[in-house]
């Protein structure tokens, strides 16, 4: 029989062997990106983008810091792509653990079950590209306790100690998207929203530059019309379906536009949708809502209005055309809810819901009036029921 001590010693020895073995296979860090075309250069094909005239200065990728919020089906693939592209610093947020139920998606492996997603991801990513500086935060950003830390990271964690270059939202819920929106409006950070529908057959990405383009609170969320009748959609026994295909495609769109934004090549799409059932890809541009509920969004809009605009090639004529040729996608904007502030959407995209005008619920009792009673008294009253 081994004593506990002996077993502990054995365990330590094995752990050391394991670390040594993993380190042996790990490549060394590379000081500067080289465009030399040799088998041993992990950056040769990326640097070739320069030679081909696509990107002017690819190695600038190392100066950028990007946050990936939500390291699930979309976020993990996004993080891997950015890592392989050689991004300077990558900051990961998630509070979930890897589960076997995640294995229908890419990136994570069964042996990682039970590990926190950010830890598991960081380990794999450091192995893929040790040049990328990876920071991880394992918490829920929507809680009061974590929000301040979250915004502090977003505003101080770039490679120069300043605000991040870009925030990528890869979360799977409305609350977290709203939280990111709130933070980015407040601290004037550019971000991309991304999402895959709960039925797994549509997705989208949206570029949000506070003040310049519509924020996430400017209008109800824009979703890709799936053309499936809600009534025939079976929801029995599950919250959400998912496919590695749709998620991989959305992650690809997201990182593609991230690279275009950071390295300044091509055009960044404001809103890009994907309908998997018909392989339809609607795109559109969305202006911010002057009456947006988020006061920081309104503030950024004022700031943007005062900024001198760069001359852009003539392209804005879309508004003149009739917006809908037909109604193949079943867009239904109820007339009473259409206000001036409500965005015009293109074919194939719809608002997740419509908002009413002022004072909608007359069927309810009037609002509570807070009189002189104190909060403590109310709390005590609640306890005593």
């Amino acid at each position: 029989m081994n004593t506990v001590k002996e077993l502990q010693a054995k365990l330590k020895e094995l752990e050391e062997k394991l670390t040594a073995a993993t380190q042996k296979n790990m490549r060394q860090k590379i000081e500067t990106m080289s465009s030399e075309v040799v088998d041993s250069n992990p950056y040769s094909r990326l640097m070739a983008l320069k030679r081909m005239g696509i990107v002017n200065n690819y190695e600038r990728i190392r100066d950028f810091t990007v946050a990936v919020v939500g390291v699930g089906g979309v976020g993990s693939v996004t993080a891997e792509m950015l890592t392989r592209c050689g991004i300077g610093r990558l900051i990961l947020f998630d509070y979930d653990k890897v589960e076997l139920a995640n294995m229908n998606r890419l990136f994570f492996q069964p042996h990682q079950s039970g590990l926190s997603k950010v830890e598991a991801a960081a380990e794999t990513l450091r192995n893929i590209n040790p040049d990328v500086d990876i920071h991880t935060y394992n918490y829920n950003i929507t809680t009061v306790d974590n929000f301040d830390h979250f915004t502090k990271v977003l505003t101080t964690s770039s490679l120069t100690g300043g605000p991040l270059d870009l925030v990528l939202s890869c979360v799977d819920n409305f609350e977290a998207r709203f939280t990111i929106n709130m933070a980015c409006n407040e601290f004037n950070l550019t971000w991309f929203e991304s999402g895959v529908s709960e039925n797994a057959v549509s997705g989208h990405i949206q570029y949000i530059c506070p003040g310049e383009t519509a924020c996430f609170a400017c209008a109800p969320p824009l979703i890709v019309a799936s053309n499936i009748d809600e009534k025939t959609l079976k929801r029995d026994g599950v919250c959400a379906a998912s496919l590695p295909t749709t998620m991989g495609i959305v992650a690809g769109f997201l990182v593609q536009n991230t690279l275009k934004y950071l390295l300044q090549f091509g055009q960044v799409t404001n809103y890009l949708g994907y309908n998997a059932l018909t392989d339809y890809f609607p795109t559109m541009t969305l202006k911010p809502n002057p009456g947006c509920d988020d006061s920081n969004c309104r503030l950024r809009q004022k700031e943007y209005a005062l900024k001198p605009k760069p001359e852009v090639a003539v392209e804005a004529k879309e508004d003149e055309k009739p917006i809908h040729e037909g109604n193949e996608w079943g867009i239904s904007l109820v007339s009473e809810s259409v206000e001036d502030s409500e965005p015009k959407v293109v074919e194939g995209i719809k608002l997740a819901y419509t908002l009413p005008g002022q004072s909608s619920i007359e069927e309810c009792k009037e609002a509570t009036t807070s009189n002189d009673i104190s909060l403590e008294e109310l709390m005590a009253q609640m306890k005593s029921i």
Partner: protein, 166 residues
């Protein structure tokens, strides 16, 4: 959009006025008072109508809520712990109500035992910011969830009746 049942449920709960979240300091206290007043009235109404189904309590700051909810099935009372936090984006987004002890027992839940809400809940909430409060989240979110899920979980034998010990 709002059916008769929902209308009736809503008519039972006082609406709120102050649009303030937990980061709003004094205004949040104002909002919190409205939340408590609305909840107290709602629970009292429930009791009067012999439909008492939950109790809630919060920390001093009103950012963490916990309590119990119960559901009567075949004359037996099934009781569950309820908890949720107030997100920084409240009241623009609803609180995510969780029943931690049922986590992993039903697919109609997200991580941590957060209940899966119907497609109608979020649009309804969004249309009524900031008038809807915690009472509305309970009545329109947790109430219907319990009514659908608990009988199903009992039928499947996933949850069984426990004699009250306390």
């Amino acid at each position: 959009m709002v059916d008769e049942g929902t209308r009736k449920t809503l008519s039972n709960i006082q609406l709120l006025k102050t649009k303030a979240g937990p980061r709003d300091k004094e205004l949040w206290v104002e909002r919190l008072k409205e939340e408590y007043q609305s909840l107290i009235k709602y629970v009292q109404n429930n009791k009067e109508q012999d439909n008492d189904w939950f109790r809630l309590d919060s920390n001093k700051e009103g950012t963490r809520w916990f309590g119990k909810c119960w559901y009567i099935h075949d004359l037996l009372k099934y009781e569950f712990d309820v908890e949720f936090g107030i997100p920084v984006t409240y009241p623009s987004t609803a609180p995510e109500i969780a029943l931690p002890e049922l986590d992993g027992k039903t697919a109609k839940m997200y991580r941590g035992g957060k209940i899966c809400l119907s497609d109608h809940f979020k649009p309804l909430w969004a249309r009524n910011v900031p008038k809807f409060g915690i009472g509305h989240a309970m009545a329109l979110g947790l109430g219907p969830w319990l009514a659908v899920e608990i009988p199903d979980l009992i039928a499947k034998g996933v949850i069984t009746y426990k004699e009250k010990t306390g």
